[in-house]
Chain length 479, copies 2
């Protein structure tokens, strides 16, 4: 199925032209990283201190020359490796929330136990393809050491692909080292095994922390999501066309730098755009305007020829109620119909990303399953057409017991583990539970039944040894 399009050819050319105008006339600031500025100047950019202006077409040309259209992110279990780009859509869980929420505990700061729980839930969820990164912030671990526990958790409690740390270049380097212990040094140099989230400091700024991490990953041939994070009206003008052009400009600058650090390093064009409440200035999600941006940016990434990251199950709601679900669906459905390749925040997101919810995670993962069924499309085989079944049955006869129904019974429809489709009376008899209450039962059962995937004990020991040494080398710090 071709992606849904909100712009015609002319509209896309206009936005590309505007992105080039922004890059040429205003430029981007690369703050606190002289090497980045030097690399860009060497490739033809016009540099004035930290301000970098790009001749029209320069970024596009450099990115298209070496960035792969599609790449494999390898998982510890090869069966779980994912393709990023082309017609593929990879669902990864929530990222970056300081708070967690569940029905009994309410809202509280995340811990490393919560972190491990979410890694386990993603591992057990058939519709999530990826273990993600900072599924929640484990605030009970010092800031300068928690990346070690997080990356270890992804490797140890899951065997799906994962993300690395970006909060400091040396933490990115630690992530790469842990990957090398797990996958082997040579393998890591030749293959993407880490994918990391590099956010622009919009408008039009790349800061030293993110650029530093991006350079580490690129040098190691690891993949980065180069993502302007734009709350329209704050980090860009309020209008969709402006958000798109600015996003494209910022992403092109970041991707260009990555390709200069190591030509061919996998890079994904990211877009995270939200609207905002003009009453309070708070970010809003699942509204029509970010959906328009999402469709437009997906099309612009296709034209550029790089994989695209956006979307997820985003919402502003504080709890997994109807608001959360409407908003999440109004983000996730466009995400899929736009053909997004890598979907961060596909499960668990609440209150604009400030919290990740256990019940929300289960509810969202179920929706990811529905999306996977949807994109398989209409089965036009003889069995799908079922003409004989219609011929044999005739008018007025139901199909419940026919041979065709019985033969297709098991696989005919997506089965949700959360939805209650029973009669009102049965639902009432079962306790009149709402969706969140049913999801609560499910995540608890999943964690109770969880068993870790196998790992080579020598690898595990080496990982723990590395982590122990790194933790011992410096005092705890909360920056």
């Amino acid at each position: 199925m071709a992606p849904f399009e909100v712009l015609n050819e002319e509209g896309m050319e206009l936005l590309e032209h505007n992105a080039d105008t922004i890059l040429e006339e205003v430029g981007l600031e690369f703050r606190g990283d002289r090497e980045a500025v030097r690399l860009l100047a060497g490739a033809g950019a016009d540099v004035d201190e930290e301000r970098v202006r790009f001749p029209r077409g320069m970024c596009r040309q450099l990115v298209q020359a070496t960035a792969p259209r599609q790449f494999t992110q390898h998982a510890r279990n090869p069966a779980n490796s994912v393709e990023i780009g082309g017609p593929h859509t990879v669902f990864a869980p929530n990222y970056g929330s300081p708070f967690v929420r569940d029905l009994e505990g309410g809202r509280r700061y995340g811990t490393i136990e919560d972190f491990r729980n979410f890694v386990k839930l993603a591992y057990l969820s058939p519709h999530l393809h990826h273990s993600g990164g900072t599924v929640c912030e484990p605030v009970d671990v010092p800031v300068n050491k928690r990346h070690l526990d997080m990356v270890y958790s992804h490797i140890r409690y899951s065997d799906k692909p994962f993300m690395g740390s970006v909060t400091a270049p040396e933490r990115a380097a630690d992530s790469v080292e842990l990957a090398k212990i797990t996958f082997g040094e040579e393998f890591v140099d030749q293959n993407a095994v880490i994918l990391s989230l590099i956010n622009a400091n919009s408008p039009l700024v790349w800061d030293a922390t993110m650029v530093g991490a991006a350079k580490v990953y690129a040098a190691a041939n690891q993949a980065t999501l180069i993502t302007p994070f734009i709350l329209a009206g704050a980090m860009a003008p309020v209008t969709a066309a402006a958000v798109c052009a600015q996003t494209l400009a910022e992403a092109l600058g970041g991707m260009t730098l990555v390709q200069l650090v190591r030509p061919g390093a996998p890079v994904v064009l990211g877009s995270f755009a939200s609207s905002m409440s003009m009453q309070s200035g708070a970010p809003t999600f699942g509204t029509p305007e970010p959906a328009l941006v999402l469709y437009a940016m997906a099309a612009l990434a296709r034209r550029l020829g790089v994989p695209f990251r956006s979307g997820g199950s985003l919402c502003a709601s504080k709890i997994p109620d109807a608001q959360a679900a409407y908003e999440s669906a109004a983000t996730l459905i466009p995400t899929v119909l736009a053909g997004v390749n890598f979907v961060l925040h596909a499960a668990g997101w609440l209150e604009g990303g400030l919290a990740v919810g256990y019940e929300k995670f289960i509810l969202d993962a179920d929706q990811c399953g529905m999306m996977a069924t949807f994109i398989r499309g209409v089965d036009l085989s003889d069995n799908g057409q079922a003409l004989d079944a219609i011929r044999e049955n005739g008018p007025g006869q139901h199909f419940l017991g026919t041979a065709h129904t019985l033969a297709n019974f098991e696989s005919a429809f997506y089965r949700s583990p959360v939805a209650d489709n029973n009669s009102f009376e049965q639902w009432q008899e079962d306790g009149s539970l709402d969706a969140a209450q049913r999801a609560n039962v499910i995540w608890k059962r999943m964690l109770a039944e969880y068993e870790p995937p196998p790992i080579d004990p020598a690898v595990d020991d080496a990982l723990l040894d590395f982590i122990g040494r790194r933790k011992a080398a410096v005092p705890d710090s909360d920056v």
Copy 2:
């Protein structure tokens, strides 16, 4: 924006071919209506008692020869008249539920007071274009007389377009009479002022009640929604391609009859398809398979050249929780992206249509508003591009107070009356309400502030006089 497509040209031709095969080889039964069978035989169909088989292409040809591609349904207030067909999408409320639900009252049988309340809410909802029909069943009014009170309520308490009764041909005739009193006899004969829901008795049966009502409306030049209602696996094979071909066959047969009764009478191809729980046989909604059917049928209707009805805010959930919202969004978004022209059940639907919810109505109507904003697309005007705003602002400067933001402030983003986008702390201070609780406050305020649209007292007297005489003419009956 072009509609989203799930089938290519070849796929659509295959389904059209299969529909013709069904019409030719199996045929349709028109039960208990000799006139209908005679009309179809006269037009070239092959008739064997009540079974009617159609030569390949006959129905398509007859429908395309006279059915309008688009028509106006006139409202009592001309400003509220709607276009049905072409690029237009009309949202109408829930239809047919015996039960109503609200937060305080829970689930109970609907009454004429509930009916009036929903008519008032639809009248007051800027994002609903239509008053609908049987928004709930007013079970406190005798079955054989409630259509009079329902149609009167639509005319008196709203001035948006409405639907007529289909539960018996004479009730359809009463609906037409009430319309003639309201709009004038000549106007009604030349213009569509009633749109009515004619369901097939799938598989492959049209029964006397529905055909009788359809004939009354067609003869009066009023519009009908010719809608196979298919629970896949029960009323058709379980597979999407079979549901589509059968739906097309049944609808073609019904539309052909309407065109033979009165060539040119407005007719809409309808599709209502649900999947089913293979555990319990219960209908399921918001699942991937009906979305595929919806997209495919919308494309088939476009190829036929008639307006299309489908979709809505469908769900299986008993309450307005996350399940209800995910399912409703997973129906409503495809409805809009498929380019559905008339959307019944756009607001209020719960538990597979058995109940209509006051809070759900408010939540759904808000989503309809979001859809209306979405389909306006990306503004590519100079103001939308906002290049000067980006030029003037420069890297690292926020846009909150810029001239462009201030100028676009009011209209930049869709404003939801229900969503809570405040901080967690503010939300908590406001009582930690969920979306349904906030919607509860809204519908009560709307009803408290409701004022009826003006009506000519002479027309009102004539309507009430007609209704009084019709009610007095026959004893109450519950069939």
